[in-house]
């Protein structure tokens, strides 16, 4: 074997650090979109490495839907303190109060889509010109066509049919006034890569990812956590199960799976054996074949 080579995680890390440094160099006011989920935690970890020994030279943005897991919020506050970075919070509740966003009604109501308004308002009011996200191309078919540097027009919209070609490692972040970019440093990572990297780098993640006992309701083939927003339907009941979450979103739409994986090693084993995608437990993606593309066009990440 040739001595001068990187293994796949080292190569993906080097690529992500390159992208993060390009963002810092090409934009005036970049920010990292931080959801408290594992992907944005990994992006933040990579940013720490990319700019060391300097601090991460950009704030974190958290879009607070009001429907959070308390564990996620605690984790966020602790990490921000540790890194010494600025935290910008966009509140969905405030957008609703101001009449900028309207609460969904009906059985499948969630605040997932409302985040778009709050996110775009937050980007505009803080004059953010590049929002860095932890989206991966393997997650979803609309994301499979995303660029590392993804252009958004003055309305924050994505035009998938008119994307800038991206060749070699040359990223074109030129834009006109009012437009902004989304940047995705871990585009080429898979769910497996993210978990292996978390294990290798010993990155702290919210306890929700590990198996734990919790009150849940079985709905649409997944275990939804019981919380104050839960409305039981006919035939449904609350039970206690040992579960863990494969992705983290709003508490109202994030389903867990039965699991006894309570260490990172066990999670990696479990993920490598699992036969369904991680977003299979997310009700926001099940609305139609192209629901992710439709939300992304409007400004979702």
């Amino acid at each position: 074997m040739h001595k001068y080579y990187l293994d796949h995680l080292q190569e993906l890390e080097a690529e992500a650090i390159f992208v993060l440094r390009e963002v810092a160099a090409q934009f005036d006011r970049p920010a990292i979109l931080f959801s408290g989920g594992k992907d944005s935690i990994v992006v933040t970890h990579l940013a720490k490495k990319a700019f060391w020994p300097a601090k991460i030279p950009m704030p974190l943005i958290h879009i607070d839907t009001g429907h959070n897991f308390p564990e996620t919020m605690n984790f966020r506050d602790k990490l921000v303190k540790e890194l010494g970075v600025q935290l910008l919070v966009g509140s969905v509740q405030e957008s609703i109060n101001k009449g900028r966003a309207k609460e969904e009604k009906g059985l499948n109501a969630s605040r997932n889509a409302l985040q778009i308004v709050t996110l775009l308002d937050c980007i505009e009011s803080n004059k953010i010109d590049a929002a860095i996200g932890g989206a991966r191309r393997d997650e979803e078919k609309a994301r499979a066509k995303e660029r590392f540097f993804s252009h958004r027009d003055e309305f924050g919209q994505w035009d998938p049919k008119n994307q800038r070609p991206e060749l070699w490692n040359v990223f074109n972040g030129r834009k006109n006034m009012g437009e902004h970019f989304r940047a995705f440093p871990i585009s080429n990572w898979t769910e497996m890569d993210v978990w292996n990297y978390i294990m290798k780098e010993k990155i702290a993640i919210p306890s929700l990812y590990y198996a734990h006992e919790r009150e849940v309701v079985y709905r649409d083939n997944t275990y939804l956590p019981n919380c104050e927003y839960m409305v039981l339907r006919d035939g449904e009941f609350i039970e206690k199960k040992v579960i863990r979450f494969r992705t983290l979103g709003d508490i109202t739409i994030t389903g867990g799976i039965e699991s006894d994986a309570d260490t990172i090693e066990k999670i990696v084993m479990e993920v490598s054996a699992i036969r369904s995608t991680e977003r299979g437990n997310r009700s926001d993606d099940k609305r139609s074949d192209t629901s992710m593309e439709d939300r992304k066009k409007q400004g979702y990440f």
């Binding site: 796949h8 690529e15 440094r21 810092a24 020994p53 191309r137 066509k145 070609p165 074109n172």
Partner: protein
């Protein structure tokens, strides 16, 4: 585990989607819910079989029209390697997508329908792979089941292709007879072609030697940004952050900064984990120097005894990517690595017919998907290598100065 990036080009009917579907499915990279969704969509459309192309064709307009219009990236892994597929449409009007997909690939898969042999599109895909200097080509002669697994058919195609490919600039070409539909020689060895002694497609993808695809001779380090912590602990720290694009850097190396020509030596090569003794492609590191000299983004750090060329005049092969044709005399932004200058197209030397490789010196118009040889004049000097020597320091893009769209991709000639 190594990472192999490969590209596939092809049209709907040559079995490309089926081949990718089989690689993903047989390597257990398609999840049950993805397969379920594709099954449901296929049933709704009234199809009798599962349409695996629905896995890759993700955009609404693509699903409506049933065509791939963009580059889609797919991922799968075996215990031996991790793979990234850049899946691109193969029609001539998507030459630009093929070029984009090929730009980051170590390897290209080219499909030939065993019933039809070497066709115009085989020629086009191979030319693009060679133009973009993809180091390895695998020619899959597909649909062998439809020609009775005939060795003569396979040999004839291999002969025809070898004759045509002598005009191309590719060193490593392999041929594999397969049937993507039935699965012969894709993941599992075929029981129908005992005359073929070579490796299966997956086995070839897993074992092909790619570690020397990078240039390890000519040390090149384009500066992305400068790290200055301004903290008490690192008060005077000044690290030049970037990614090694060639060669091997070590502390103590005598270096030259281009284009300024200022010299110094490397004090340390830093990463978050600490100092490293060697930096080589494609590592992202920070370099500190012994002297406090003027260096900014876009400069290139190289070693004293191995210099790239400096120029304001470039001779390039260029693929035009935008619907808006090139305008003679117009000024464009030119991005070379991390450096940006302005450029004007001085002369169109010839246009290539990508189906026949014929040069046309009369037609000077540059439209979308055209591949042309042009001469550019730049406002400032850049430090470059020929694309043949280094795909990273030998490539450029052109950007529109009003819409900011990426207009063209260029490979610098020797």
């Amino acid at each position: 585990m190594e990472l192999l990036r490969f590209t596939t080009a092809g049209s709907v009917d040559d079995g490309k989607s089926t081949l990718i579907g089989r690689l993903l499915y047989d390597s257990k990279s398609i999840f049950e819910d993805q397969l379920e969704a594709v099954k449901n969509s296929s049933e709704r459309k009234g199809l009798e079989h599962i349409d695996l192309s629905l896995l890759t064709d993700g955009l609404r307009s693509e699903r409506e029209q049933g065509i791939t219009i963009d580059v889609a990236y797919r991922y799968f892994a075996t215990p031996k390697r991790k793979f990234i597929i850049a899946d691109t449409p193969g029609h001539i009007q998507y030459t630009r997508n093929m070029v984009t997909g090929a730009s980051t690939a170590n390897l290209a898969l080219i499909l030939i329908d065993a019933r039809h042999g070497v066709m115009e599109q085989t020629c086009r895909h191979s030319y693009i792979a060679s133009l973009l200097q993809i180091p390895h080509l695998i020619i899959c002669v597909n649909k062998m089941d439809l020609v009775d697994y005939s060795e003569e058919v396979f040999n004839k195609i291999m002969e025809d292709y070898t004759e045509f490919s002598s005009k191309l600039d590719v060193n490593d070409i392999r041929f594999i007879p397969i049937s993507a539909l039935v699965g012969d020689n894709v993941v599992n060895r075929s029981e129908n072609m005992d005359w073929y002694q070579g490796a299966t497609l997956l086995n070839t993808l897993e074992t092909i030697h790619i570690a020397s695809d990078y240039n390890h001779l000519d040390a090149r380090f384009p500066v992305q940004t400068i790290i200055r912590p301004h903290s008490d602990e690192y008060h005077d720290y000044r690290g030049y952050a970037g990614r090694v694009d060639g060669g091997i850097f070590r502390p103590g190396d005598k270096i030259v900064v281009l284009p300024s020509g200022l010299t110094s030596s490397i004090t340390s090569i830093d990463t978050f984990e600490g100092h490293v003794e060697e930096a080589y492609p494609p590592m992202s590191v920070s370099i500190t120097l012994a002297d406090d000299i003027d260096i900014s983004r876009g400069d290139m750090i190289v070693k004293e005894n191995n210099m790239p060329e400096l120029t304001q005049d470039l001779d390039i092969m260029m693929c035009w990517l935008n619907a808006k044709p090139a305008v003679p005399g117009a000024k464009y932004f030119l991005r070379h690595n991390t450096k940006e200058v302005k450029a004007v197209i001085k002369e169109v030397v010839y246009k290539i017919d990508v189906n026949t490789l014929q040069r046309n010196e009369q037609d000077k118009e540059i439209k979308m998907n055209d591949i042309v040889r042009v001469r550019l004049r730049l406002t400032h000097q850049i430090a470059f290598d020929a694309y043949r020597k280094n795909r990273s320091t030998g490539s450029i893009i052109l950007i529109d100065d009003t819409t900011n769209e990426t207009l063209a991709a260029g490979m610098i000639n020797d």
